[in-house]
């Protein structure tokens, strides 16, 4: 009964579609905004936001978690699943009227599925300016080796 109601074209729809196309072009369809997602994916906008980048030697995971202490994170890795959890507690102001409360307050956990050659023995993490950067080295044997032809 209500399906027809949203058939008008919102003035911003064309721009939003173009933005989606541009994002897909840069990041590839593996990160589609609307399509099928990894089973452990959290909804868009979950705290903390995560970006994962890859180089031939390592995988880099960035967690956008401002206002925390480096010790606040619990990072663990099992097989190729990296799990980062912690809690952010925001002190409530006494005698204050809140107009907006958008910042995340509470416990969080993000689980990232790493490629198979991620080496759990070679994990380093550092926290700066509110970003937790985790570097996971790749297993040596997975790197392509040049074979010399004699």
């Amino acid at each position: 009964m209500f399906e027809g109601m949203w058939s008008y074209e919102h003035p911003l729809s064309a721009q939003i579609r173009r933005l989606e196309e541009e994002l897909d072009a840069v990041f590839g369809s593996g990160t589609s905004l609307t399509g099928t997602r990894n089973i452990r994916s959290l909804p868009a906008g979950s705290f903390p936001a995560v970006n994962v980048a890859s180089t031939p030697e390592a995988i880099l995971v960035y967690l956008f978690a401002p206002g925390l202490d480096a010790k606040a994170f619990d990072i663990s890795m099992q097989q190729n699943l990296l799990s980062v959890s912690g809690a952010r507690e925001i002190q409530q102001e006494e005698a204050a009227t809140y107009y907006r409360r958008e910042r995340f307050n509470g416990e969080f956990r993000r689980t990232i599925n790493l490629p198979d050659d991620a080496d759990p023995e070679r994990v380093e993490a550092k926290y700066a300016n509110g970003i937790l950067t985790i570097r996971i080295g790749r297993r040596e044997s997975a790197k392509p080796r040049q074979i010399e032809v004699r």
């Binding site: 995560v50 970006n51 994962v52 180089t55 031939p56 401002p66 925390l68 907006r100 995340f104 509110g130």
Partner: protein, 134 residues
């Protein structure tokens, strides 16, 4: 003979942002807590990846614009596998009311969290009135 030139005026961008960035990428609106206490308004903004050098607070008339450029380690040959964050610019702006003293803004940035304090003008702060007895 003089040639007619058609000069198209680029549409004016929203207040405060014309001189700040020339980039076309969309800015992200950061998560903000806004609250009011008896002596003013406080903002707390989540801007992970922004350090002091890349933070810009600008006041124009009654508008406060906060912009921050986020930096994270990037290396050649890096390929994105997954991205929740797809822009490197945070921007938010607020229209402040006249009882706030914009010239007294204080801002502290720590671990990617910006805390801004805008006090009310002295005459607008609640004053205790002493009641004399007798």
């Amino acid at each position: 003979m003089a040639t007619q030139q058609n000069v198209t005026q680029a549409p004016e961008k929203s207040s405060g942002s014309r001189q700040t960035t020339q980039r076309n990428e969309s800015a992200m609106r950061p998560a903000v807590d806004v609250f009011e206490t008896s002596d003013g308004i406080r903002l707390v903004v989540d801007m992970p990846g922004v350090s002091k050098e890349h933070l810009r607070l600008q006041t124009e008339a009654n508008t406060l614009t906060i912009e921050g450029e986020l930096q994270f380690e990037m290396r050649d040959g890096m390929e994105a596998l997954y991205a929740d964050v797809r822009s490197t610019l945070y921007r938010c702006s607020f229209v402040l009311s006249s009882e706030l003293d914009i010239s007294q803004i204080e801002a502290i940035l720590k671990d990617g969290v910006l805390a801004v304090r805008i006090p009310k003008r002295a005459e607008f702060r609640p004053r205790r009135i002493q009641v004399q007895s007798g």
